[in-house]
Symmetry: C2
Subunit: 225 residues, 2 copies
């Protein structure tokens, strides 16, 4: 198999930290900080400095050794690595409550993912306006994807329709799908999917809550002895 381009065989765990680094660095930049050491940055994110350096090491040379990182260089470097040096055109498929919430969530735009369209099959939703994006009929989807060079789709349709919609998206040239439907999508290996399962999140929280409540019961029992 052909060797991958530099910087693409990186552990998932590292990839998930890159946005956190970027966010914190942008914050520092906004308040005028010019230099930051791996220790400072790591402590503010509650991780070890060695881990941060290890993460950066996959991409190589953000600074000359012996000198702290320069915020002004790191921010664009990370943006390039993450792939948001240029705005990444995005659409939302499914204009239900969640789709609407995401369309209104202007942070997406600010962070480099401008919404180029919202689509639904429900005639009652078509025409509604969210921050300048008007809900369109799903028949328009393929045209917008191609005309606007959309690469990422946020999928908020009901689980029952998710796979069918996915196949249309893939055929139209979508390369990344941010899937909020509680179901696993089948896609070719040339398409990336990230599943966002709210139920998983709240249930894993529930597990920990149960453990906390149990251990505090234990404590009370112990005190009663």
């Amino acid at each position: 198999m052909r060797k991958q381009r530099k910087g693409c065989d990186v552990p998932d765990a590292t990839i998930l930290r890159l946005p956190l680094y970027l966010e914190k660095l942008k914050l520092l930049q906004a308040i005028g900080v010019e230099d930051v050491s791996s220790r400072q940055l790591a402590e503010s994110l509650d991780i070890k400095a060695s881990q941060l350096r290890h993460d950066f090491h996959y991409f190589g040379g953000f600074s000359r050794p012996g000198r702290p990182y320069q915020v002004a260089k790191l921010v664009p470097a990370l943006e390039k690595i993450i792939g948001i040096a240029e705005p990444v055109h995005t659409i939302i498929v499914g204009a239900g409550h969640l789709g609407q919430a995401l369309a209104n969530y202007q942070n997406l735009d600010i962070q480099g993912f401008p919404i180029k369209g919202i689509f639904d099959v429900n005639p009652k939703l078509i025409g509604l306006d969210f921050r300048g994006s008007v809900v369109q009929d799903m028949d328009e989807m393929e045209t917008v994807i191609k005309d606007q060079g959309v690469k990422i789709a946020i999928l908020t349709v009901p689980a029952a329709h998710a796979q069918a919609v996915t196949e249309r998206l893939v055929a139209a040239g979508i390369v990344g799908i941010f899937n909020f439907a509680p179901m696993d999508l089948k896609v070719p290996t040339t398409v990336a999917v990230r599943n966002e399962r709210l139920a998983v999140g709240i249930m894993s929280l529930s597990f920990k809550v149960k453990c906390i409540l149990q251990s505090s019961e234990n404590k009370e029992e112990a005190e009663e002895l």
Copy 2:
């Protein structure tokens, strides 16, 4: 230190799979499947059977050895482990677009997390009705938490207010916080937090999209030779 109760020192990775097992098992139950082997269940979730058995092993004895798992026993067992054998009373704090979307997302209720209140400080939002839950002034929050025995709060307020609200929640007796604000909350060790960062999700997707696009460019170059 006091020894933890059975089944609480479990790796995070395992905890995150429990809801997936439960969901799939409920689906099987709905279509009348009575028995399921670790292999069948694992394959339908795209994981290894040995991993599933290893996960279950933390909690012990779901079946007699030599016989497949019984769906009807596994479902309540997992519900008990996750802590949703009884409904887990929940509130939503912040009735912006995301809070509204979650309030309307009836799956939460079905999966064991009935919404006992939605709160905001914005007078324009107070009184709005979402599936029977009326947005209340945040001053009512502590009362509802105590009266209804609420243990989990879903936090969808702006980042700037997240820490202050968190402190009120903790003081009122909340044990788990599902945090959608893009910031790290400081809480005592007796409170569990799960951060849901949409920006992290879409950026990690963007990274993979970039890699896919680069490698397909490479391929094209190779074909041109």
